[in-house]
Amino acid sequence: MIEAKSLCKSYGIFKAVDDLSFTVQAGQVLGFLGPNGAGKSTTMKMLTGFLTPTSGTALINGIDVVENPVAARKNIGYLPEGAPSYGEMTVQQFLIFVARARLIDARSVPDSVEKVIKKLNLTKVKHQAIETLSKGFKRRVGLAQAIIHDPQILILDEPTDGLDPNQKREVRGLIRAMAKDKIIIISTHILEEVAAVCNRVMIIANGRLLADDSPQGLIARSRYHNAVSLVVEKPEKVASALSELPQVGKVEIREGELTLFPTGEKGLLEAVTAAVSANQWQVSALRLEAGRLDEVFHSITRAEAST
């Protein structure tokens, strides 16, 4: 379990992280979401004991990270931002170094290294110097060093940054596969990633916690949640006809697409489909909107910026 207790980090008068408190339980994959410079990385650096908080502290499985950083770190696998590694070493040399440093029993070092190399598809490049590798491989080496000791807590700062879509998919699959009975915290500014791997999201901006919810919960905050969009001939005529329905609230037309927002009454989709077939409108697309994460993100972080 991770317990952050009023974490603060200031640089002079600038508050990078401002009174952040939260708890994360085993089985949770928590996504830190926020604009650049929101304090996501700073928070992670404090959780891993790299930065000392200006005030407040965090407990890692009950161990205070400020008072006892070395013991606290034993439970953590950490991928720093940009996945730094020693470029002149080969992949294998580097992973052996990390395995030893992470106190894996000396006899099991070769095994753990071999396993993690397989897991991240690094076999082909294991004897290559890391600095000669592509960005995707470097990122995977970074992930490999973070999970080599099978830690209970994984903290990954932008784990898929710089990967191509296939590699992103692989890494997300890997994170999901490890998620059971672990604590995983990832930071990202890619919205789709949150929906793909996380079961909890914290939106952070200007060092403050603005929302703490499940991805579904966040999406439900969207004004598009349960709205109905359709592409139809003569959208203006259809719009005025449909706005008569009691289930239809606001109506928007954008680039030929008609979006109907729900009122409190249920059954918007049914009412619309009934009206479509009754009037025999030529509909080429019709869908129920789940909600738009980017719109939620924008409205939450913008509201903060304007205060």
């Binding site: 650096k45 070395v70 720093p80 020693y86 002149e88 990390v98 110097a129």
Partner: protein, 244 residues
């Protein structure tokens, strides 16, 4: 302890994975040779000893040791690996000591590679090998002092050139503190105890004592204190400013 050794091994692997190690070793051997034979008149003076060889070590170290030490921490900062290193379950003490020991052993290796000098002088005459052994030890200890200063300066910045220049300046002050040109600045107005204090900081004086073949405990303690002091300062600097 294991943590320190692990870091030391990693550093040493790093030296030999890049041209740094080979360039340094070759330059060191060539320079010691040039100094001993041309400036030191190794043959012409007609003594079977290694004094002309050791006499220039302080000046050689002044430039070559900061060249080794400048990357120790500045490079970690520049590449961001400092965040990886210092979030491993290790203390900063272990990291500082591991890196220092690796560099010190490496310079020790450079010294060992000068053994042909010692073989030559034994072939040409019968030198006092005890004195030579003491001088090797003194030279290595002095290199450790330079290195500890350089490591500490390297922790101050992410720029290797800045680290290099700062190290040379501080090393130069330690080197010269016993010479008349420095002492004359203080003579006449500073109390004797200050004069003694400044004079006793000199690398040159302590190194000269050891190369005479007298291994005095005070000289050993002096170098141990210098190394300890600068490494401790190194740890404190890292603790205060890890991230920037």
């Amino acid at each position: 302890m294991n943590g320190t050794i692990n870091i030391m091994k990693r550093e040493l692997t790093g030296y030999f994975a890049t041209p740094v190690a080979y360039v340094f070793l070759i330059i060191f051997l060539v320079m010691t040779g040039i100094f001993a034979f041309y400036l030191g008149n190794f043959y012409e003076r007609g003594f079977a000893d290694l004094d002309p060889f050791f006499r220039f070590h302080p000046w050689l170290y002044l430039f070559l040791v900061p060249a080794i030490s400048m990357r120790l921490w500045a490079e970690e900062r520049r590449s961001g690996t400092i965040e990886l290193l210092l979030t491993l379950p290790l203390t900063i003490h272990q990291a500082v000591l591991g890196k220092f020991l690796a560099a010190w052993l490496f310079i020790g290796l450079a010294l060992v590679l000068t053994l042909p000098m010692w073989i030559t002088v034994n072939y040409l005459g019968s030198p006092d090998n005890g004195v030579i052994l003491a001088a090797y030890l003194g030279s290595w200890l002095m290199a450790g002092g330079f290195l500890a200063i350089g490591s500490c300066m390297s922790a101050l910045t992410r720029n290797q050139v800045v680290a290099f220049v700062l190290s040379i300046v501080v090393c130069f002050m330690f080197l010269l503190s016993g010479l008349p040109m420095v002492m004359n600045l203080f003579n006449g107005w500073a109390p004797q105890i200050v004069l003694d204090g400044i004079a006793s900081l000199s690398f040159l004086q302590h190194f000269a004592d050891i190369t005479k073949g007298v291994i005095d405990l005070r000289d050993l303690v002096y170098f141990a204190l210098v190394i300890g002091f600068w490494l401790l300062a190194n740890v404190l600097i890292l603790e205060v400013k890890k991230a920037d």
